[in-house]
């Protein structure tokens, strides 16, 4: 009994500390988090749709899902990792790289969409 209650209150304390730590992150990063979450949500919707309707134009399905995952990855990397490691690239260069990568990703997706 004592164990479960302590786990419960541990879990509660955990959530509380997580939430407080997350609330401390700057607003910019929280917006990017929202964007990443939206991208993943869109991917999930596509997967559910495919499960319901069938995967006939498989290339369209693939390109749709991978585009969402791709944008999530590209946007998420800057948020995930800012507490860890400060890149020694100037931020303009980092943004330009980000734009280039997104451009290539969407070019490929539009070609593959069929």
């Amino acid at each position: 009994m004592g164990r479960t209650s302590s786990t419960k209150e541990d879990a509660g304390a955990l959530f509380h500390s997580l939430r407080s730590a997350y609330a401390a992150t700057p607003v910019n990063l929280k917006i990017i988090d929202l964007y990443v979450g939206f991208a993943i949500f869109t991917a999930l919707i596509q997967v559910v749709y495919m499960a319901m309707v069938g995967s006939f134009p498989f290339n369209s399905f693939l390109s749709g899902v991978l585009s969402c995952v791709g944008t999530a990855v590209l946007a998420g990397k800057s948020n995930f990792l800012s507490p860890l490691f400060a890149k020694d690239l100037p931020p303009e260069r980092a943004f330009a790289d980000f734009v280039l990568c997104n451009l290539v990703l969407h070019l490929v997706i539009m070609n593959f969409l069929g």
Binding site: S17, K77, P83, L89, C101, L105, I109
Partner: protein, 793 residues
């Protein structure tokens, strides 16, 4: 800056300015790289000089034909091309089954040159594509090794790759095959991966994905990349080297790379559905989990983190087990567990010989012998372990990748001799690192022992201490005692700055003095260093001599033209082209030619006739049909060929001149492959005491089969005794007539023999049981005793 300039400012002495030294080093590196490119190009030109500018072997002829089509008809026709001149009557979808990288590259070069009004023919461009791309590959090796260990190692590795015999063997001028551009793409992709890993820039990650796309376009060996990189990422995670740069290097590559790979028609949806790619997705998930864990760790206190871990582990394990169970069920439901035949034979070397005789029969798929290692990578074979050790001092992300690369490529090269080609760049890189480190130690030792140097040690210390005020970069590598090469004009100055970066300037002088003292104590004796240096140079000389010999003698044969030297000079055997020219001039355009699959590509490319089977070997049953026909008696073979609309049959026979790769030597594969599909062909029928014999001890089945008859028809007329120079014996049945075939052409040295199917007789004499042509009744009764349940009669 306490650096005194000397009077001759152009000559770099020990004390010149860092920037001048770097500039000089840069110019020198540029010229060395240019020379390396010229060397790589010219060492592959032996075949053009010794024979002519001709395309070699078998596969390059197919690529040449596809490139011709591309240049004539344009790219849309190429993508949608359905080839009806091969695998008759099935045809082949070229657009969807060929790796387009090589043909598109050569086509682009041809188009570019022609638009600049340089009128090179397609054949010339095809012949010289491989040497050009090997020059690019050596430059890519320089860049790759520079990422790992610095420019000196880079130059050494580039020189080694330019000359390594294994790579030369697949990229001589005329060897117009996928590996010619694929090896360049492989090295370049690895270079961009390491560059992304070292810099953490998304720009290089994009370039990495594009280079990977080029690799997927070029060669089926791209699965090596998409499995090696996830393995390396996993290794980094497990050894605690996770960082944001790793994530940036890997995650965009998986997403973009999978999409780009799915764009190539050959790969298509295999990019997400075959087991060869599952490793990348698995590691993709793992790296996200690890990134998340690090993030959580960063924002929680340690106690809370422990709670989180226990919670997650209990819940996560349950979910994981469920997912893995589903995955295993899915994968196990397919008979090959989702892997393709070739990949399975790499993982289990005995797989092909048990289940897929065609893959087992290709000579390139056999395991290599020990001597072939020394033939193909020569001196590098024992420099590689030294390079592996050098990679560990210090171990960085990039050098751990090199260690993993060499380990896996050594394993795979042991399975299939064709994959020695993937081992070659890894061996060159590690050997380059080893040689460069050895040179560092030796030249540093020499430098410290030269008279007049001891007083300058303090000046150097002063110089380096003043450099500490410059940019402080990341962690200090472990101090190596061999980090002393100051007279090396390229890279070591930067390393020195990094090494002393964190010493505060106040203690710099004292510490640097102690350092210099320590270095002097660790220097090797002068004579030993000089002699070792000379010995290393001699080692390099041996390597060069061997590589040039291998390129000139061993790997330059076009195998469509043969030469021998005898006491009366040089004999040239040009029989193959003679036969194809005869075919193209004396037969109708729509005539079908049947031969063993080795010669399919050459026949369609040079003779321009429709063939039944060719080197693509995608349809085992069709090949088995041809194999059965070759192993059957004349009448049954005639039936089979007639049902396929074949007009001409082509056999290669080496008995007159001693050419060992003729069809009689390949006959065992015809029997095996045919017998694998049509059970009335039984291998023991052809064997006497477990061996294939064609002399008087041969079995009657063997003496009656079509291959025997077509090879040895009228052979006794050459020397009266019918002595076969390859099998070294007189043949068994010397005097016989052909009933269903007629000989139409035999080349000058009897190497290629072409027969025509005799048409049906108009009148059938005697009892007409079926409306087919009849021979004498005696032969049919003899034949019916030797086989049962022949589906062709």
């Amino acid at each position: 800056m306490a650096a005194p300039e000397t009077s001759t400012a152009a000559v770099p002495t020990l004390y010149t300015n860092n920037t001048l030294r770097n500039a000089f080093g840069g110019v020198l590196s540029f010229f060395i790289l240019l020379l390396i490119g010229v060397l790589a190009f010219s060492i592959r030109l032996f075949s053009v000089i010794k024979y002519e500018s001709v395309i070699h072997e078998f596969d390059p002829y197919f690529n040449y034909r596809v490139t011709q089509f591309l240049t004539k008809k344009g790219i849309y026709e190429f993508w949608n091309w359905f080839d009806d001149r091969t695998w008759y009557p099935l045809g082949r979808v070229i657009g969807g089954t060929v790796y387009p990288g090589l043909t598109l590259t050569a086509g682009t070069i041809w188009w570019l040159l022609n638009s600049l009004n340089i009128p090179l023919s397609v054949e010339t461009v095809c012949v010289f594509t491989a040497p050009i791309f090997s020059a690019f590959a050596s430059w890519a090796t320089y860049l790759l090794t520079k990422e790992v260990k610095g420019a000196g190692a880079g130059l050494t590795a580039a020189v080694l790759l330019a000359m390594v015999p294994s790579y030369i063997s697949r990229s001589v001028a005329g060897s117009y095959d996928n590996e010619a551009v694929a090896i360049f793409a492989l090295i370049f992709t690895f270079y961009l991966y390491l560059k992304t890993l070292n810099t953490g820039s998304l720009f290089y990650a994009t370039l990495n994905s594009l280079a990977y796309f080029y690799m997927v376009c070029s060669w089926g060996g791209y699965t090596f990349i998409i499995n090696l990189i996830p393995m390396h990422v996993l290794l980094c995670i497990v050894t605690g080297r996770y960082s944001s740069r790793l994530y940036i290097a890997y995650a965009p590559l998986v997403v973009l790379g999978t999409l780009l790979a799915a764009l190539v028609p050959v790969v298509g949806f295999n990019a997400v559905m075959t087991s060869e790619h599952f490793a990348s997705f698995l590691v993709f998930i793992i790296i996200h989990v690890v990134a998340f864990v690090y993030y959580i760790k960063g924002i929680l206190s340690p106690k809370m983190f422990k709670v989180a871990v226990t919670l997650v582990v209990t819940v996560g394990l349950a979910v994981c087990c469920a997912v893995i169970a589903v995955l295993i069920a899915l994968v196990a439901s397919s008979p090959t567990k989702g892997w393709s035949g070739r990949s399975l034979s790499l993982l289990d070397p005995t797989y092909a010989s048990k289940y897929i005789p065609i893959i087992a029969s290709v000579s390139e798929h056999q395991p290599p012998t020990w001597p072939s290692y020394f033939m193909d990578i020569n001196v590098l074979a024992f420099l590689v372990p030294a390079g592996i050790i050098a990679c560990f001092l210090p171990l960085s992300d990039a050098s751990s990748f090199i260690v993993l690369y060499i380990a896996t490529s050594v394993y795979f090269s042991g399975v299939m001799v064709r994959l020695m080609l993937v081992l070659a760049p890894a061996a060159c890189i590690t050997s380059g690192i080893a040689l460069s480190e050895a040179f560092d130690v030796l030249t540093g030792s020499i430098k410290f022992q030269l008279p007049g140097v001891t007083s300058n040690a303090e000046v150097d210390a002063g110089e380096t201490s003043s450099d500490t005020s410059e940019a402080q970069t990341d962690e200090v590598k472990a101090e190596k005692p061999d980090d002393t090469s100051k007279n090396r004009p390229s890279k070591k100055s930067k390393k020195k700055e990094r090494e002393l970066a964190e010493n505060p300037p106040a203690k710099a002088t004292a510490k640097a003095k102690a350092k210099a003292e320590k270095k002097r104590l660790l220097a090797l004796p002068l004579e030993a260093s000089v002699i070792s240096l000379l010995l290393l140079v001699v080692l390099g000389a041996f390597y060069v001599v061997h590589s040039v010999w291998a390129a000139a003698e061993a790997y330059s044969a076009p195998s469509i033209v043969l030469t021998t030297r005898s006491h009366d000079g040089l004999h040239v055997f040009d029989d193959f082209r003679e036969a194809y020219a005869w075919l193209s001039h004396n037969t109708d355009v729509n005539d079908k030619v049947a031969s063993w699959w080795d010669y399919g590509y050459q026949t369609t490319a040079m003779a321009n006739r429709t063939v039944i089977v060719d080197n693509n070997t995608w349809n085992n049953t069709h090949i088995a049909t041809v194999g059965t026909a070759m192993s059957s008696p004349e009448r049954a073979a005639w039936e089979i060929f007639h049902s396929l609309d074949v007009k001409y049959v082509l056999v290669v026979f080496g008995g007159l001149i001693g050419y060992p790769s003729d069809d009689i030597n390949k006959f065992l594969w015809m029997v095996r492959i045919g017998g694998g599909v049509f059970p009335h062909i039984k291998e023991p029928d052809y064997l006497r005491d477990g061996q294939y014999r064609i002399d008087s001890q041969a079995t009657p089945t063997m003496l009656n089969c079509l291959m025997y008859k077509l090879s040895y028809y009228r052979f006794v007329e050459t020397d009266g005794k019918a002595y076969d120079r390859v099998r070294r014996t007189e043949i068994g049945k010397k005097y016989f007539k052909l009933t269903h075939f007629e000989e139409v052409f035999t080349t000058h040295h009897w190497m290629v023999r072409i027969y025509k199917l005799k048409p049906l007789k108009n009148r059938i004499r005697g009892k007409a049981k079926k409306s087919k042509s009849k021979t004498s009744s005696t032969s049919s009764s003899k034949r019916s005793g030797t086989k049962k349940k022949n589906p062709w009669l």
